[in-house]
């Protein structure tokens, strides 16, 4: 197992967001964390790479093991270099070219060799399937790209520092259907070399991209299984209603 979460609880201020979450994430597979909005999906993701603690008043208990090592006993910057993150809204660095956006992580971690940086930038852009589109204008500002391209640029930026795990927080929610489809293909490809955890509220997306799916509701993981199994034969009633789209109705009836 690449990542193991054991009895993870998380709070923001006095509000508890996650309750005793246990989760095992397999190496080089795509694991989807699915659930309705406000159920704690994003917090679960942010607990893994210690971004949760960037929020004021945030607290965590329990353990998160990366290759058997507790991430809360490592320096946060090391954890985040090993576990990259992609956000809901593409967020390339302003006033930086495409090249600089991808190179900055390397440069700021002390890599000076220009030739090496150039090579890694190219590799990262290729892995993010953006290279062919931007190879002739690497000097253009990153913010001038289309939404889908910006998100792939952010993926390249994350890949450049050579993470082992990539966390994606609803990475297609700001994209149009075509860009979404492209990004989903990319996610499938990435899982050949990386462990991917993707948060989504979209059942179809989980079905298209993931090998495993966890269904999370009100801060608790209700069900975790291979995606095919979970979607075909959900064991939990709430999971079933979410999958079949009757969830909102059910919740209203209470």
């Amino acid at each position: 197992m690449k990542l193991v979460l054991e009895k993870v609880n998380a709070w923001i201020g006095k509000k508890q967001i996650l309750y005793d979450v246990n989760l095992e994430i397999e190496e080089r597979k795509v694991t989807a964390v699915m659930g309705p909005s406000g159920c704690g999906k994003t917090t679960l993701l942010r607990v893994i790479n210690r971004m949760h603690e960037e929020v004021r008043g945030a607290k965590v208990s329990g353990t998160v093991l990366l290759d058997g090592e507790d991430v809360y006993r490592m320096p946060a910057s090391i954890v985040r270099r090993r576990i990259g993150m992609i956000f809901q809204k593409p967020n390339p660095f302003p006033n930086m070219s495409i090249f600089e956006n991808v190179a900055i992580g390397l440069k700021l971690s002390g890599v000076r060799d220009k030739e090496l940086i150039r090579r890694k930038v190219k590799e990262a852009l290729e892995a993010a399937s953006l290279w062919d589109e931007v190879k002739d204008d690497l000097d253009r500002p990153g913010t001038a790209l289309s939404g889908g391209q910006q998100q792939r640029l952010c993926i390249a930026r994350a890949l450049a520092v050579e993470p082992e795990v990539i966390l994606m927080d609803e990475p297609t929610s700001a994209l149009d259907p075509i860009a979404t489809r492209r990004l989903e293909e990319l996610i499938r490809n990435l899982s050949k070399n990386y462990t991917v955890v993707i948060v989504t509220h979209n059942v179809q997306q989980a079905a298209r991209v993931s090998d495993y799916t966890a269904f999370i509701y009100e801060g608790r993981i209700l069900e975790f299984n291979s995606t095919a199994e979970l979607l075909k034969r959900p064991k939990n009633k709430l999971t079933e209603s979410f999958i079949t789209g009757r969830f909102e109705m059910l919740r209203e009836v209470g």
């Binding site: 971004m51 990259g84 967020n91 992580g105 971690s109």
Partner: protein, 266 residues
């Protein structure tokens, strides 16, 4: 009826606008008429001469330049660092903002007095003291514009940097400041333009001088603003004329800087 009110509003704002433009345009016109023909190579190079014997403001231009360099070195470094602190670290930035705004509102002659008491008494009238006094004018302007520019950088950017494992101080220096670059630069240019035109804080600090002071920062020095003050209030007509020429020069420099900073901030 509604349309009438609307027209009245448009008309009265136009009148107000014209009223506001009259002083600016007449200032430009008078300075141009009185000052333009005084500007010549010897005016720009020579030291001042007794009344009626020509002379120029070369030493004042040089003094202004030296003091602005000193003021900018102090004002920009202290100002940008304060702005970073207020925007990125402080939990109570509103208190610091009040202090900074009060400092920006202190009459500049008082800043000159303060520098006189804490610096001039020990090192004497000098370009250095003048530069320090001007830096006190620049600091709050630079600090606030840096703070505001940094606060406009979306939080997404900070999150993205943190998620890459970049330590906060590196992210501020290499990513946030860069994202806020335009706002900061326009603040720097505006504060420099402000310092260029100040005469009052120099009266007790740089003091003024009739000679080139070389590069010695510990000598009294003249500045363009001081020339306007002393020559403009002198009884000799050709000295008053030189004040006009200096005024025009200063006006051109500051106008150029304002326009330049505005173009940058777009």
């Amino acid at each position: 009826m509604r349309e009438l009110k609307d027209r009245f509003m448009a008309f009265s704002s136009l009148v107000a606008m014209i009223l506001a433009l009259i002083p600016i345009l007449s200032l430009l016109a008078v300075t141009l008429v009185e000052g333009a023909w005084r500007i010549s190579p010897s005016f720009l190079i020579n030291e001042p001469a007794p009344p009626g014997q020509g002379g120029g403001i070369g030493n004042a231009i040089q003094g202004t330049f030296m003091m602005i360099v000193v003021a900018a070195a102090i004002g920009i470094s202290v100002g940008i660092c304060s702005g970073i602190y207020m925007a990125e670290y402080s939990q109570k930035s509103h208190i610091l903002e009040i202090f900074t705004d009060v400092m920006a509102g202190v009459p500049s002659i008082i800043l000159g007095l303060v520098v006189f008491l804490i610096l001039v008494r020990f090192i004497g009238f000098s370009a250095l003291a003048g530069g320090v006094a001007l830096s006190l004018i620049m600091i709050p302007i630079v600090a606030r514009s840096t703070e505001e520019a940094l606060k406009e950088v979306p939080n997404d950017v900070r999150e993205a940097a943190a998620a890459l494992g970049i330590p906060k101080w590196k992210a501020i220096l290499y990513i946030n400041l860069r994202a806020a670059e335009d706002g900061i630069k326009s603040g720097l240019l505006l504060s420099t333009a402000r310092a260029l035109g100040e005469a009052a804080p120099l009266l007790f600090t740089a003091f003024g001088s009739q000679f080139y002071s070389g590069i010695n920062l510990l000598q009294p020095a003249s500045s363009m603003s001081l020339v306007i003050y002393t020559y403009g209030s002198s009884p000799w007509q050709d000295w008053r004329g030189m004040a006009w020429g200096t005024a025009l020069l200063l006006l051109l420099i500051t106008a150029f800087m304002s326009v330049f900073s505005r173009r940058r901030s777009r």
